[in-house]
Amino acid sequence: MSAQPREQWSTRAGFLFAAIGSAVGLGNIWRFPAVAYEAGGGAFLLPYLIALLTAGIPLLILEYTIGRRYRASAPGSFRRMWRPAEALGWWQVAICFVIAAYYAVILAWAVRYVGFSVNLSWGDDPDGYFYNDFLQVGDEPGAITSFVPGVAWTLLAVWLLTLVVLWLGVRRGIEWCNRIFIPLLVVFFLILVVRALTLDGAFDGLDAFFSPDWNALTDSSVWIAAYGQIFFSLSVGFGVMITYASYLKRRADLSGSALAVSFSNCSFELLAGIGVFAVLGFMAAQAGVPVDEVVSEGIGLAFVAFPQIVSQMPAGAFFGVLFFVSLVAAGLTSLISIVQVIVSAVQEHTGISRTRAVLIIGGALTVTSTGLFATDGGLYLLDAADHFINSYGVTLAALAVLIVVSWYLRKLPQQQAEADSSSSVRLGVWWRLCLGVITPVVLGWMMVDSLTGEFSDNYSDYPTSFLLWGGWGVAVGALIVGVVMSLLPWRRDDPPSPEREPLPATAAGGAAGATGATPPGTGARPVDPPAGAAFGPDPGRPPRSSDDEGTTEGNH
């Protein structure tokens, strides 16, 4: 058996487009504006920036270093790091499966609304049109009694497009798709924002959005909101960035790329916030009410409030089309990245070709999402699954990864050396401090806060029986699938580990990240850093002994 080269991005721009496309999703457009508004308006910038610098960027860099170093899918990367950690990767794959299954449905709605915008199909009742006429939502959460063909056929088209992109591969599919859709998204959104700013009441909306409430900074929930927003909007915690970084070349600038991706993501969020609050200001002016009475988020903002605004705007149909095409572009590039996590993992685990992996995974996802979410009970299930898989899947998996990598395996110095070996921005002790202390503490805090709320009131007042299988069941099921998958044998030999691969001489002149880590498959705990180091030695220093991690260039 001979190892074949791994797929690679053709250029760094291709990788950046793909990573930005993954990070910029529906949440940037419909979640950030409302979160910022409710969490102190302009004052929210402070916790938001602190969260970006202490959690978002450090986590992104960590995932890049794991992916680039181990050059495998999420389960494969964690397996090569430490065999029992493979379960973390499969847990993330299972989370991706759940998220992909319902995320595609929202895209299907957006696709239909592109068409609905042309003749303003919702008339003067966007709310009734969306929930009753289009989704045909049933009365009882958890009950699935009928199929909704209007959603189903669009959903099939969304899946077909997604799978074709994935089948074409990293370069011809993912890279080129993002090269087209990301510029398109930015141009369309800029047109929307410029138009929104010329509407009556737009600046009243911006005033509401940016007016700072400094007292909010003393409220712990505001800080949780800031860390939550950064965490969920950067696509960290579910294996996407590990997978994408595994296609990077050896000398790719990891920390520089992470800064570019994270600031691009946040810049787009700010742009979306300006656009959304400008149109909400217009909506409030039309209704003669204060802006706070029209603020909404999520599905309600996109499919109810925005259609209402479109109906009131001059040339509304045109701007409705622009808005929903933007939603499709933002969502599609994120969906592709999520499904790629699954395809990559299954492909490596089984040794099957990309074509077969795409067909098998795509088939399973298409059946699951159509069968569960293109139904009269789909909206309830989507809402519950989204809440629980994010709160107790993505967050918990990220916390587990940090505890294993930084506290148990003490791999942060090694990963820092990996990043510093080729990056334009060298990492310092702050990076290890953020990942070893700040981010785990904040994620744990988020978890406790979320659990406290969960046990005091049922989420969205749904019946407990429904939440047990549609919420908790989904989140716990993902964890169980992860553990079970990690116990299944791999169908082919494990490719060479980076510990045995020669690494190129680095432009930065730093250590190449080769270490004395445990060979894959042994399950033994790797070498610990010297006693007394907070999170291991500073990789920028010369090696003190052969046991120092990340200080020997070209180790085999």
């Binding site: 001979s2 074949q4 690679q8 308006g41 494969g76 800064l259 570019a260 990309r354 082919r492």
Partner: protein
Amino acid sequence: MSTSAVVMMVVSMTLLWGGMIAAMINVHRRPDMQREPDTGRDPAEGTTQD
């Protein structure tokens, strides 16, 4: 718009959009990947072993 809202808007734009521009310039000044031999395949089958 109130003065405080305008100030926060300008500060937000400066920090986030300025940060993005600075990060992009930094990336652009380091053409790291172009100097590395291309070993990728297109279309590829990932890390398959035959």
